[in-house]
């Protein structure tokens, strides 16, 4: 059993005769890659899962509705929309909860995020991998995964926040993908870039204030 701590890179099968951006909007690709991700995490961690295929399908259908509802018309916004859409998927997986744990390995270390919350871990790495594969294949960009993915306290925060408001999952995925999260209106794409720029500016100011002896910033980098 290998302690994960990082995203197990899934080698999802790329569609042979259609662009990836089209394939990801197909149930058959979603189902097969999600099941592949579950198999990979299972093999690496020893956790066995049960997949509710109907819930997987429902997640996909609802995600696609949310995806189509906010899809931008300008091609310049596509890259940003991929990141946002991956977050929408994560939100939907947390709402639909298509996975349940069948068995944990006896020596599971609950301080490791994957054993702390195995289902949540699969949802997150799946969305990160899909995001990454599209960034690479369609935009020739690499995603640098944040070390926060291995921090247990971030996972506590994730679990607590998505239970209360699943939309915060979108911000957490940005955080794990090394991007600036939009905590203000995480499920709204319009104006997201502007809000992110503003959030980054405020965070830098906050960090600078923290560096000064008497200064205290006010803006957290993630929800409490």
């Amino acid at each position: 059993m290998k302690p994960p701590g990082i995203v197990p890179e899934a080698e999802f099968q790329l569609p042979a005769d259609q662009p990836l951006r089209r394939a990801v909007r197909r149930l058959r690709w979603f189902k097969s890659t999600f099941e592949e991700q579950v198999r990979l995490v299972s093999a690496e961690t020893g956790v066995t899962f049960r997949i509710d295929r109907r819930k997987v399908t429902k997640c996909f259908v609802q995600w696609l509705c949310a995806f189509e509802a906010q899809k931008p018309k300008e091609s310049s916004a596509y890259l940003a929309y991929v990141g946002f859409a991956a977050g929408l998927m994560l939100r939907q997986l947390f709402v639909g909860r298509p996975l349940s744990v069948d068995a944990m390995p006896p020596d599971a270390n609950r301080d490791d995020p994957v054993y702390f919350w195995p289902e949540g871990y699969v949802y997150v790495v799946y969305c990160l991998n899909v995001r990454q594969i599209i960034f690479k294949d369609e935009f020739h960009q690499n995603v640098v995964i944040s070390p926060r993915l291995s921090e247990l306290r971030t996972w506590w925060s994730l679990k607590e926040n998505v239970t209360e408001d699943p939309a915060t999952a979108i911000g957490f995925l940005d955080l794990f993908a090394g991007d600036e999260p939009d905590w203000l209106m995480p499920s709204v794409f319009e104006g997201r870039s502007t809000r992110k720029i503003e959030a980054r500016r405020l965070r830098r100011r906050h960090m600078a204030a923290m560096d000064r002896p008497a200064g205290r910033g006010t803006l957290p980098s993630q929800p409490a």
Binding site: P15, A16, R28
Partner: protein, 252 residues
């Protein structure tokens, strides 16, 4: 012999075979039911009568197995049209161009409705209550095909077939001549959902080999399950069914 006479001959040969196949399936099911009833009675019989009952059931079992084997052999080796679940023949666009489309459709409907219904029910006892009539599937196709000329869109044609399947009652149960019209929601819903799933599957664009047909069919089935309330609300209205198929066919 010209092409027309060959295909006409094949049509009538296969067309006549469909009721025979339905009857053979009925015989097999009837024998299995008799055997199951005998087993439940035998368990209640005292000592020597119980032993006698067990011996009788053994005879029934051998007879059922023989009939089952023979009728299945007859049905599949000699009566089936040459059709397999593959990308070449399963696509609705290709199917409707075939001269023996009604018979071909009936075979495809029978094979796949069986699979889909058992997937939906996931309970063999309950699944055993459903029968698929290949004859009625062919009749449904023929009725729908009468309206094809007025439509250019394949999805609209498929919706006509779906409507006809529901109207004629291709899926039946031991208590209902048409499961799609049963007052019992737990009987009606699997039948209607299964018919929708099979038609959706026939309409999906193929980009894979025959080995992926079953996962594709089951994906259509999962989607139909998610949409079951909308499908039920569409009833037997071909236009609404066409809208539902159009909205979701690219999603699969």
């Amino acid at each position: 012999m010209d092409h027309r006479s060959t295909s006409t001959h094949a049509y009538y040969l296969h067309g006549a075979a469909l009721p025979v196949k339905d009857v053979l399936r009925g015989v097999r099911h009837g024998l299995r039911s008799i055997r199951n009833t005998a087993v439940s009675l035998q368990s209640k019989l005292p000592g020597p009568l119980g032993a006698l009952g067990a011996s009788t059931i053994g005879h029934v079992d051998r007879f059922v197995a023989k009939v089952d084997q023979n009728s299945s052999l007859v049905a599949h080796r000699y009566l089936d049209p040459e059709v397999a679940r593959n990308g070449g023949t399963a696509a609705f666009a290709q199917l409707i161009t075939r001269p023996d489309a009604a018979v071909l459709f009936a075979k495809i409907a029978y094979d796949n409705l069986k699979l889909v219904i058992s997937y939906i029910c996931e309970d063999l006892d309950r699944n055993d209550r459903y029968f698929i009539s290949e004859t009625l599937a062919a009749i449904a196709y023929q009725r729908a095909a009468g309206g094809f000329a007025a439509r250019t869109d394949e999805i609209e044609k498929a919706a006509l077939v779906l409507e006809a399947m529901l109207r004629v009652g291709v899926v039946r149960t031991s208590t209902s001549t048409s499961a799609a019209h049963s007052a019992d929601d737990t009987v009606r819903q699997p039948a209607v959902t299964a018919c929708f799933a099979v038609m959706l599957w026939l309409l999906v664009e193929r980009d894979h080999g025959p080995e992926d047909e079953e996962p594709l069919l089951l994906a259509c089935c999962d989607l139909a399950m998610v949409l079951r309330e909308e499908i039920a609300a569409a009833g037997e209205d071909a236009e609404t069914l066409a809208d539902l198929l159009k909205t979701h066919v690219d999603m699969v």
